[in-house]
Amino acid sequence: MSTSIHVSVGQVAASLALVALAAAVSFWRKADLERDIGVATLRSFVQLTAIGYAIKLIFEADTLWLVFALLAVMVVFGALTARGRAKKVPDSFWPLLIALAIAAATTLGLVVALGIFEATPRYLVPVGGMVIGNAMTASAVALDRLGDEMVDSRARIEATLALGATAREAARPTVRRALRSGMITLVDSTKTTGLIFFPGTMVGMLLAGANPTDAVRLQLILLYALLGSVAISALVATTLAYRNFFTPAQQLLDSTE
């Protein structure tokens, strides 16, 4: 798995032709996405170039402290980004931050403890990035759904509270649906992987000239690790966030009215 290829700036520049195609489609069909496509292209270039240099420095320094610092920054930015999707959930930042941190720590800890990957920057940085990215998406989707469900199910939740149920019991069906929403996308894409689409890691390794068997095995490990991290992040985020809809006297907040 130690193959490497050289990609020139010219090759990257040539791929911009497809960005131009996307912008042209948007302009032709008046989708009004040209500006967004431009911003996305520029941001991806700047962000990936910056992280590329950061990873290069971390690999050369070969110290785990820098890895942890990078992952911590990713967790914080991931929680801030996911908070933007979970607008209906009061104070969603802390549940998201804790969810991403636990998902990253547990998943990376397990893959290292089980001897799947070595505890070195070369493995922890890319795997950690994938884990946090997928955990962020899953917890954002879960909390977005949680916010909608708490509003839609307000009458049923309050009727259950009126029976003397705790907030936890009253919110349980809602939390279950939110958790399912957060996990279902990755579960579905894992079901169809290899049939309908090739996942990124496998494509990258094949392009880099790796043995297809190695590419598939590594991809499987990552898919299974991501399933675990997505489940942990959605579980922790929903378990912590639903409480923010209730007062200590087990009353549903007015924000759901």
Partner: protein
């Protein structure tokens, strides 16, 4: 006295829903009447501590409402909301759930009969019930907790005359035979006359009048 409200106020957004409400609700059957938007349902929610007032005090049996454990209070003072909101599953599972929360065994057949439903309804999926049947299933679920007080928000609003009469007969029976106190929100003064012994008349968030039904609704 069952409930004593003193200068109770509550605002929702820009709107003053309850404005210095002071009223007594004695043990027995009390009707809270008034036009839509008068604050009747909000008042009922406060009595079950589903919300707290911003100002003023509420006492239940002489003790401040907020000195009770809210969960224990709600198992003793059962609120049946206007809109049916049963849990997914069968009628029986809903009754069993409510009974379990109150630490009791559900007598589904008896509760359903009291609420004017055939015991055969126990096996029905709640998603297949009409709104009127759901409303009665909600009452049966509250009765499964064997509460001391029933707070009823427009309990017959979705029912035809025959079903309404059956529910009213049930409520009168509960009051008479089981000595359950009733606090009933109704927009219908005639229903208040039929069921209430005491009346609190609400208007624009204020308790305009309170007293025996014969005096207030004369």
């Amino acid at each position: 006295m069952l409930f004593e409200l003193r200068d109770v106020s509550l605002t929702r957004g820009e709107r003053r829903v309850l404005d210095s409400v002071s009223a007594d609700v004695p043990i027995g059957a009390t009707a809270i009447v008034g036009p839509s938007g008068a604050g009747k349902s909000t008042l009922l929610r406060l009595l079950d501590r589903l919300a707290d007032p911003e100002a003023g005090t509420i006492a239940y049996r002489g003790r401040p409402l907020d000195s009770y454990d809210p969960l224990a209070l709600r198992r003793e003072v059962a609120l049946v909301p206007q809109l049916p909101a049963l849990l997914e599953g069968t009628v029986e599972s809903n009754l069993a759930y409510a009974a379990r929360l109150a630490g009791r065994e559900a007598e589904a057949g008896r509760c359903l009969r009291l609420a004017g439903l055939d015991p055969e309804f126990a096996r029905r999926d709640v998603a297949r019930l009409s709104v009127g049947e759901q409303q009665r299933a909600m009452l049966a679920r509250a009765l499964a907790q064997e509460p001391a007080v029933l707070l009823l928000d427009e309990p017959t609003s979705a029912l035809d005359h025959a079903a309404r009469d059956a529910i009213e007969a049930t409520l009168a029976h509960l009051r008479r035979e089981l000595e359950i106190s009733l606090v009933l929100v109704s927009h219908d003064p005639e229903q208040a006359r039929r069921l209430g012994e005491w009346v609190v008349r609400m208007d624009e968030g204020r308790a305009a009048e309170a007293g025996p039904v014969a005096e207030v609704l004369a």
